[in-house]
């Protein structure tokens, strides 16, 4: 008895040794910057005292100032509008394409591969493309004029700039969603569909009662990954609109960068980054809970 106990104790110790490198890695690579960011966001570090010192602890004043600032509230709203709109469109269109390309027809493989091109292009290039496509005399307005519609000044108006940015992001996000959802579809055994067909289920019933329930895990993963990926968007806006006009396409990522690196309000920039982190953290917790619940089921 005693022997087996010490065996298990040794095994536990060994297990901790295996965890240690990952733990140290997380501590330094993730923990340190995060804690430093929290520290910065609670002080008043700016261009005047970054290197000279003299910055003081001001508690949550930066956060209070941020939420009292109309621009920040707009930026926060933009971030959610951008993320939710992108998720809705890229998920539904991505799912539809996944179902379509899951059908085995000739050329379905190569066409699926081609669709991935937009996902493989670096975001900065996508941003430049978007800037050209949506300029006043760009491709979109040119095509619209062919069917007799005078297109809006996409990137100049505060009401349309966000739409243009969302379209460009979906262009990248749709193939990404499609790819992940197809791999989810391939995990469903064809036998299930076959027996359902024999029982007389039509395609709507098969979709609602077989595909959706069995895809729940993949769908949640895709939505969560999509949320995290979209919520921290930066490069697309930075290149395509620089957050403008008038902050209409500014999101938390670009706003934090602007505060820290253009205006040297380091503490304020950190506070924005913390808000970004907090939002993602909540979503992450939610996702973990769902995963645990699924495992229990």
């Amino acid at each position: 008895m005693k022997k087996s106990l010490s065996m298990s104790a040794r095994k536990t110790r060994e297990a901790y040794c295996f965890i240690l490198p990952a733990f140290v890695y997380i501590l330094f690579v993730l923990g340190y910057p995060l804690l430093y960011n929290v520290y910065l966001s609670l002080r008043d570090v700016d261009v005047k005292n970054l290197t000279k010192g003299g910055d003081v602890f001001i508690g949550l004043k930066n956060y209070a100032d941020l939420f009292g600032n109309a621009t920040f509230r707009l930026v926060l709203k933009n971030t959610f509008v951008f993320t939710i709109a992108c998720l809705v469109f890229q998920f539904t269109i991505g799912f539809a394409l996944a179902l379509f390309f899951y059908q085995k027809f000739s050329l379905s493989g190569p066409v699926r591969g081609l669709l991935l091109v937009s996902y493989m292009i670096p975001m900065s290039v996508t941003g430049l493309l978007g800037k050209n496509i949506f300029s006043n005399a760009g491709l979109v307005n040119n095509l619209l004029s062919k069917i007799g519609i005078i297109g809006p000044e996409w990137l100049v108006n505060t009401s349309t700039a966000m739409i243009a940015v969302i379209i460009m992001n979906c262009w990248v996000g749709i193939p990404f969603n499609m790819l992940l959802l197809i791999s989810g579809l391939t995990n469903i055994s064809p036998d299930v569909y076959e027996s359902a067909s024999i029982d007389g289920a039509n395609w709507i019933q098969r979709f609602a009662h077989i595909t959706v329930p069995l895809m729940k895990g993949s769908m949640l993963s895709v939505l969560m990954l999509g949320f995290i990926y979209t919520f921290r968007a930066f490069d697309l806006m930075y290149i395509m609109t620089a957050g403008g006009p008038l902050n209409s396409t500014d999101v938390l990522g670009t706003y934090s960068y602007m505060l820290s690196f253009t205006q040297y309000k380091f503490s304020m920039g950190s506070a924005v980054a913390m808000v970004l982190f907090a939002c993602l953290f909540v979503v992450g917790l939610f996702y973990l809970r769902l995963l645990v619940k699924e495992e229990e089921d």
Partner: protein
């Protein structure tokens, strides 16, 4: 034993000799710049090679880093200490980097040099902190003037360039031709420092009396200036896309014949090949106010020695060589800029009349700041203009909103 001693002695001698040669090796020095036009990009490499060949104290390696990336490197380097030895910086940004501790105080070395009084006060001030200590030298300077498409002016019935704001308004309206896609005026109002650079002449104009600085933008003359630009946009005389245009985009509109007038920088004189004889053009002072007055903004790049540089004195020697009387004149011609020294005489070989206009305009050109929080002031200014152009906000309200941001900044640390 004796033999062994001899060998050991020889070895010691050889090591000493080797270390002496090592001492004679020039110190390796890095220089970061963001010159990206073909002329100045090549010139900086040639100049560094030339300097490396005429002295043995330092060996400079020049590296191109894009402007935005270079700015980020300075900000990060302020904390981490990873900075080049010599660095280039846009003049309005210098005050912030001095405050961040990016540059060495080289006042003593420069005073010993004894040529500081030759530099124009505007560009030199941008290298100073509020106490008057100097952290670099202005390497080139420039300002803004008006480029005019003389063919379009003639077609609209004018045989001269505008001399006052009122005349300019009239001409911009007359030269606009939507059927041909020609706008009267093109300028850059992008949401970066470039936008502020081009907006300031209109906001600080001397119309109906005295001009004002950015700590008093609710003054009548500033509101009037922004109203004129806002009316250009709302009447369709200027494209609303100016809020996304960089200065080179605005110049390209002019060069393509899509704008009768454009607000252009001195450096564009080195790029007039783009027009390629398609139309007659000329330059005049920016007509920002009453007849006989003009306002412009000083631009230009400074070079400083970064904190922790390998050999500060030798790096200062390089700056002094680079900004010497002869070299200043040479650079101005190569890069299409204006020398920062009164004793440098640039002998331009192209667009000589154009350069005359810009040199005269320098008399009316005003500095931005210097102020450590200039980027925040700048943001308030371009945001005000964009809200007028994009959202149709009343200019007086937009500038009042800008002043709400600017006033606390200048109350804490006043503008010089």
């Amino acid at each position: 034993m004796k033999k062994r001693l001899l060998v050991a002695g020889a070895a010691v001698m050889a090591m000493m000799a080797a270390s002496m040669t090592a001492n004679a090796e020039p110190t390796e020095v890095t220089l970061w710049h963001y010159f990206d036009a073909s002329a100045d990009k090549e010139a900086i490499v040639e100049w560094v090679d030339e300097y490396n060949s005429i002295q043995d104290d330092i060996h400079i390696t020049s590296t191109y880093v894009s402007r935005t990336e270079l700015m980020n490197q300075y900000t990060v380097g302020a904390l981490s200490g990873e900075l080049p030895d010599i660095g280039m910086v846009d003049s309005p940004d210098m005050a912030s980097y001095i405050s961040l501790g990016v540059f060495e105080d080289i006042t003593d070395q420069l005073e010993e040099w004894g040529e500081l009084d030759q530099f124009y006060p505007g560009p030199l001030t941008s290298c100073k902190d509020p106490d008057g200590r100097i952290y670099g030298l202005p390497q080139n300077t420039n300002c803004l003037a008006l480029a005019c498409n003389m063919d379009l002016l003639e077609a609209a019935g004018y045989d001269h360039m505008p001399a006052s704001l009122d005349e300019f308004k009239e001409m911009v309206a007359a030269t606009t031709n939507p059927d041909d896609g020609v706008y009267g005026f093109a300028m850059c109002c992008i949401s970066t420092e470039e936008g502020t650079f081009q907006l300031l002449p209109w906001l600080r104009s001397a119309s109906g009396g005295e001009g004002v600085n950015v700590d008093n933008l609710t003054a009548e003359s500033a509101v009037n200036g922004l109203t004129v630009l806002g009316d250009f946009v709302s009447n369709g005389y200027m494209s609303k896309e100016c809020v996304n245009w960089t200065q080179s985009d605005a110049f390209n509109q002019f060069a393509a014949g899509k704008a009768a007038f454009a607000e252009v920088g001195t450096w564009h004189l080195a790029m007039t090949d783009a027009i390629n004889g398609a139309f007659n053009y000329d330059f005049c002072l920016l007509p920002t106010g009453d007849e006989g007055t003009s306002t412009s903004t000083i631009g230009g790049e400074n070079f400083g020695v970064c904190s922790g540089a390998a050999d500060v004195d030798a790096c200062v020697d390089f700056l002094e060589w680079m900004c010497s009387k002869e070299k200043e004149a040479e650079w101005a011609v190569v890069a299409g800029k204006i020398p920062t020294r009164q004793d440098s005489e640039a002998e331009y070989t192209y667009e000589t009349d154009g350069f005359d206009v810009f040199v005269e305009e320098m008399n009316y050109a005003q500095a931005r700041g210097p102020h450590a929080e200039w980027p925040s002031i700048s943001e308030a200014i371009y945001t005000a203009a964009q809200s007028v152009f994009v959202d149709g906000t009343a200019p007086a309200d937009a500038l009042a909103a800008a002043m709400e941001k600017i006033t606390p900044i200048v109350e804490e640390t006043p503008l010089p």
